[in-house]
């Protein structure tokens, strides 16, 4: 370890030398956000803050620190040595190798870093050590300020069993359930009545959380959840409670100081979830009337006061269709989705947390907290939305461009072009936030922002995000936490083209193809190119899309193409810049932004249209006719192969050599990004002798 530290320090010195010449490109565009509180330079908080986190949240915190004139210290694992948060910080310390329990959860190394850099306070971000009372205690012991609530509040709210008792005592509505450590899960579930929710007592963020509808699922869920809880939080205690059907997840942001003042900063609607993890959030909620909002806000504040809460925190509620709300849990940290609250209230929550941590009283009164307009947040993930609404994917961001040139768009990210999305950490790419005077305006901006967001090199969930925010049911506001499974019972399949959309896509592909063909005939300064009397003006093409084939006639006039798709005329005009990742066009007078992901000599073009990627093949009539003679290549049969849907580590092998497995039987369990996934047999088979992989 000692030797390791030396090399990493040495590397760090080299890094600074290597990158001294250029400014770090900060990806947090929140400089464009207008906050209502000023950064008062006379109000002395801290000289130096260490941010015990990585990625976007570390960058987000540093951003505010810079505005407040506070020096920042980043901690990082070895693989994160050139990460954005490291470049953004004034100082950086390597705290260990890639696995989180050896770096970002490594309290010894982080305490060392604090001492070495002389940091006066620590902002923990979310996740990692943000709700770890042991960490808060160790900081207190060395007189370092933890930017968050006091230890007893973390302790009280961090334990879901205790928090529920406290909430009850503070007259906060709670869900019926078993308030104790679960031992006989099936019996308790039976007493409460199905469906029940099994969740990690120390948990959060959907990890170690499962719903069970019967005894078998309870047993299974209990086993998996306790494993996940143990690996994510180092605490395998679980609790069980009544599962509220068709609920909405609405949470109240609270902000309290050390002088007994507490405010509620309105709600965030977080009902769009998959596997209990939030995907799209908005503030305010379409569902709450002022009375319910006030009632929820006041209960949240009561709870905060009951535990002498200080700092920013979030009280989560489940809200049923009759606007009954039940306390779910309190998160004693800055939430992932805090930017939407900042957008509608104008408060910089990180600034407020730092002020409060230093002991300053809140500057605002409850009546000062506005709801200005509407804000929506899409969580952009490196994951494949076609598999269970999102399984993690990894890779290198070969091209990356955030739509921050658009008005009222905020992107909180901690990555940049060239960054690696690895198996070690959360696969979130960024939080894309748009806001506007009305919900419709914010939604419209979100559509544009998603279309203009360039992400290459990893699979991402923009297809799903765009479908959600344009879904009629979402637009109407009629959502529950079951939105995704209800609307896509067969799983998400991407945007379904209408016949008009199909024509638009085919026409754009054809126009792009012709533009590329024309350009390939333009040589500069070459005298030996045939002086063709006239450039071709008409093209007869055949465009294949999703197993359908279209006869297409293209004619050109300047940069406008008139494309006849199966006899229907479509007019497409644009710049036709063949180097640009974005393809802004006007189709029949409607402006659209498509993206060209690939284009090859064989006529294959991949276009992103309305968020979804479509493979289009554009052929000349001659090629199309002759294509009929080409042999069909048979793809290899993979039903006897079990392939991991994502990179991860094998945590359990459920079969032995010689076992006969049924179709659908679990073969092994893969853990990736802290989620456990069963790999199941695609057909009945017998297990052959195998080398047992080393288990992690």
């Amino acid at each position: 370890m000692a030797a390791y530290m030396i090399t990493s320090t040495l590397r760090r010195v080299l890094l600074v030398a290597k990158h001294a010449s250029f400014q770090s490109r900060c990806c947090v565009a929140s400089s464009r956000v207008q906050y209502s509180t000023v950064y008062d330079s006379n109000e002395k908080t801290f000289d130096k803050i260490l941010i015990a986190n990585r990625g976007e949240i570390a960058c987000r915190v540093m951003k505010t620190c810079k505005k407040m004139g506070i020096k920042t210290v980043a901690v990082h694992s070895d693989v994160d040595a050139s990460a954005v948060h490291v470049k953004m910080a004034d100082e950086a310390v390597c705290v260990g190798p890639a696995p989180t329990n050896k770096s970002y959860l490594n309290m010894d190394a982080i305490m060392d870093a604090i001492r070495k850099t002389g940091s006066q306070a620590v902002h923990p971000g979310y996740g990692f050590l943000s709700e770890n009372k042991e960490f808060a205690k160790r900081l207190a012991a060395e007189d370092v300020v933890f930017i968050g609530p006091d230890t007893h509040a973390i302790h009280a709210m961090g334990d879901k069993i205790e928090s529920k008792l406290l909430a009850k005592a503070a007259n906060v509505n709670v869900i019926p359930g078993f308030d104790g450590v679960v031992e006989d899960a099936v019996k308790i579930a039976g007493d409460i009545g199905y469906p029940v929710m099994i969740k990690a007592s120390a948990g959060g963020g959907g990890k170690g959380m499962r719903i069970a509808w019967n005894d078998d699922e309870t047993r299974e869920g209990f086993r998996l959840s306790s494993q996940e809880a143990a690996s994510s939080f180092g605490d395998d205690r679980l609790l069980i409670e009544k599962f509220v059907d068709n609920p909405r997840h609405i949470e109240i942001q609270v902000l309290a100081d050390k002088h007994g003042n507490a405010l509620w900063l309105n709600e965030r609607e977080c009902s769009i979830q998959r596997r209990n993890q939030k995907v799209v959030e908005e503030a305010p909620s379409t569902f709450l009337d002022p009375e319910t909002r006030r009632a929820m806000g006041e209960q949240a504040v009561q709870l905060a006061k009951a535990v002498q809460y200080s700092s920013a925190g979030t009280v989560e509620f489940l809200v049923d269709s009759n606007k009954n709300f039940y306390f779910l849990e309190m998160n004693t940290r800055l939430q992932v989705e805090h930017p939407i609250t900042e957008c509608i209230t104008g408060l910089d929550l990180v600034q407020q947390m730092i002020r409060v941590a230093k002991g300053f009283p809140l500057l605002h009164k409850q009546e000062d907290i506005p709801i200005n307009g509407w804000a929506i947040e899409s969580r952009v993930y490196a994951e494949d939305p076609y598999k269970s609404f999102g399984l993690p994917s990894i890779g290198r961001l070969s091209q990356y461009q955030e739509p921050i040139n658009l008005p009222k768009v905020r992107v909180d990210s901690g990555i940049q072009e060239g960054s690696d999305i690895s198996i070690y950490y959360d696969p979130m790419i960024s939080k894309l936030v748009t806001y506007g005077a009305t919900r419709a305006e914010a939604l419209q901006r979100m559509e544009a922002a998603l279309d203009n967001y360039v992400i290459r090199g990893v699979t991402h969930n923009i297809p799903l995000l765009r479908e959600i925010i344009t879904h009629p049911r979402f637009i109407s506001g009629d959502i529950t936490t079951n939105f995704l499974p209800e609307e896509y019972p067969e799983g998400f399949k991407g945007h379904q083209l209408t016949s008009e959309g199909r024509r638009e896509l085919v026409a754009t592909a054809a126009a792009l193809y012709v533009s590329a063909q024309l350009r390939s005939q333009r040589f500069l300064g070459n005298l030996r190119v045939s002086t063709t009397p006239q450039e071709q003006r008409q093209w007869e093409l055949c465009v294949e899309l999703e197993k359908g084939s279209h006869t297409v006639a293209v004619s050109r006039s300047g940069s406008t193409f008139t494309v006849e798709v199966d006899g229907v005329k479509v007019e497409v005009s644009g710049e036709w810049n063949l180097a640009s990742a974005l393809l802004p066009v006007t189709i029949n007078r409607t402006p659209r932004v498509l993206q060209c992901l690939s284009r090859d000599a064989g006529g294959d073009i991949t276009l992103q249209y309305l968020g979804t990627q479509f493979k289009v093949r554009v052929l000349s009539q001659l090629v199309s006719t002759l294509s009929a003679h080409m042999p069909e290549k048979v793809p290899e049969d993979t039903s006897s192969i079990l392939r991991s849907p994502m990179p991860g580590s094998v945590v359990a092998v459920s079969v032995k050599p010689g076992d006969v497995v049924a179709e659908g039987q679990e073969i092994c369990v893969i853990e990736a990004m802290k989620m456990q996934n069963s790999l199941i047999a695609a057909k009945a088979a017998k297990v052959r002798p195998m080398d047992t992989p080393p288990l992690h």
């Binding site: 010449s21 960054s419 040589f523 070459n526 090629v623 080409m630």
Partner: protein, 476 residues
């Protein structure tokens, strides 16, 4: 530019069965010409055309039509017939106008190309020659593609071998299929005879059109410059973080190449053979360049026999046809061992050294990480008349890595860890080379594209001649 569409056996097979040609004396000469021309156009007849299609292949004329610009083909020797007089071949019904081959000239994207089927040693180095193997090609006929600059194959339907499986069986008693012996996979991955393979006839011909655009028409023409939409001063931020901190960790050289190239387009030559070196064509601000790069992902990017030969041949092609060469260096050295020494790595490694040294086209070199020992020297170093040699901050120009060096210099000494740290401090960085002028500048990786584009513009007028000789004697 010359292009051969090879299918010697299948083509003659196609004409084996007869479509009788009557020479009818009372017809006018004009009528005879027309009838003969029409007969030539349908080759061996509709039945034979259908049979060819059934095999998943196109006829020679269809191929030419796909390859060339519309209506640009001008055929020559359409009336040539074979003169074989044995075994009944002299019979009229075994004779065909335009027998076996279709030759002529045409245009690809407006640029002149000759389509032929005979090898031409004298044309080597004068015009770029490309062969596309679209059927079986055996015996002496294989030397026709072997003598051209590039050989491409069609997967599953083309074969190249000196002797077929039957002869192999009778001589060596070896059982081997056509595909294993001389299929596209064998020649693109094992033998290195072919430079790339494509899915089918159409895919191959369309890619060939695309490839053709990279090449100059002859050694008298400059490398082509096409209209470019990609800004020449575009920064590539991803390159600043691509080289991992651990010097032993791999990364993909293709990420760098695609990052700097116009529109990320890179036409790789021999992508499946000697993968520890990457070679291929790209454009910089519209101008064709040849790119050579060590591939850290495969065998740490070391140089061995196959990669040296692969690189050398590519460099010589570029030099012969006025194509500037960009070299990306991350090479830990030559691969050690008996198999390499017995195989003659000295002789083969010398080819790459020779090729880079004799090349007079603009040469720009970027050292991304390791540039150790003799391998550093070989990879278009300043010592081989490199025009512009850059180092990234992560470059280590040294005789070898710290560990190996310390083990030799301080053999038997105990404080090797300390010495290693000192060696790293002193040599594992670009400064020693920069101080001596072996690198012209240490550049920020994200500016690499901008720098190269600017240098290429400056070097466009470069003129360098080697002393007169009949020809150089490259160590074959």
């Amino acid at each position: 530019m010359m292009l051969a569409l090879q299918q010697s056996v299948a083509q003659s097979e196609l004409q084996q069965q007869s479509r009788r040609w009557y020479s009818v004396s009372h017809l006018s000469v004009q009528e005879r010409i027309d009838r003969k021309r029409n007969a030539a156009l349908i080759g061996g007849g509709q039945k034979r055309i259908d049979a060819q299609h059934k095999r998943g292949k196109l006829t020679a004329r269809e191929r030419v039509e796909l390859l060339l610009d519309k209506d640009s083909f001008v055929e020559c020797d359409m009336f040539v017939e074979h003169r074989c007089s044995d075994f009944g071949m002299e019979e009229d019904h075994n004779k065909f106008a335009g027998d076996s081959v279709v030759t002529g000239q045409g245009r690809i994207n407006g640029r002149l190309v000759y389509v032929f089927s005979q090898r031409n040693v004298m044309a080597s180095g004068v015009v770029p020659q490309i062969s596309l193997i679209m059927g079986p090609c055996a015996g002496g006929a294989v030397y026709s593609p072997a003598l051209t600059d590039f050989t491409f194959m069609v997967k599953d339907t083309s074969y190249l071998f000196i002797t077929g499986p039957d002869v192999v069986k009778s001589v060596t008693n070896e059982d081997v299929t056509q595909e294993e012996l001389g299929g596209a996979k064998t020649h693109t991955a094992v033998s290195g005879v072919a430079h790339r393979a494509f899915e089918n006839d159409i895919d191959a011909l369309l890619n060939l059109r695309n490839f053709f655009n990279f090449l100059p028409l002859s050694n008298q023409d400059p490398a082509p410059v096409t209209e470019c939409h990609d800004p020449s001063d575009r920064l590539v931020p991803g390159l600043d973080t691509i080289v991992p901190f651990e010097t032993t960790k791999a990364y993909d050289m293709l990420d760098i190449i695609q990052g700097i190239a116009d529109e990320r387009e890179f036409f790789e030559i021999m992508p499946n053979y000697a993968k520890n070196i990457v070679v291929g064509f790209a454009r910089m601000n519209g101008r064709t360049v040849g790119i050579v790069g060590n591939q850290p992902k495969v065998a740490s990017g070391c140089l061995d026999i196959n990669s040296s030969v692969k690189g050398a041949r590519f460099v010589r092609f570029c030099d012969a046809f006025n194509i500037p060469i960009l070299t990306f260096v991350d090479v830990p050295g030559f691969l050690p061992g008996t198999s390499q020494e017995y195989g003659g790595i000295i002789r083969h490694g010398a080819k790459l050294l020779f090729a880079f040294a004799e090349a007079t086209v603009p040469k720009i070199t970027i050292i991304t990480r390791k540039a150790y020992g003799g391998a550093y020297d070989v990879m278009s170093s300043k010592h081989l008349r490199g025009d512009v040699n850059y180092a990234w901050p992560s470059a280590e120009v040294a005789v070898m890595g710290a560990k190996g060096a310390v083990q030799i210099i301080f053999r038997g000494k105990s404080n090797q860890a300390e010495q290693e740290a000192e060696y790293v401090e002193k040599f594992a960085n670009p400064f020693p080379a920069a101080v001596r002028g072996f690198v012209d500048d240490i550049i920020v990786p994200s500016t690499t594209r901008k720098r190269i584009c600017r240098d290429l513009e400056v070097l466009a007028s470069k003129k360098q001649t080697n002393p007169w000789k009949k020809h150089a004697n490259i160590p074959l």
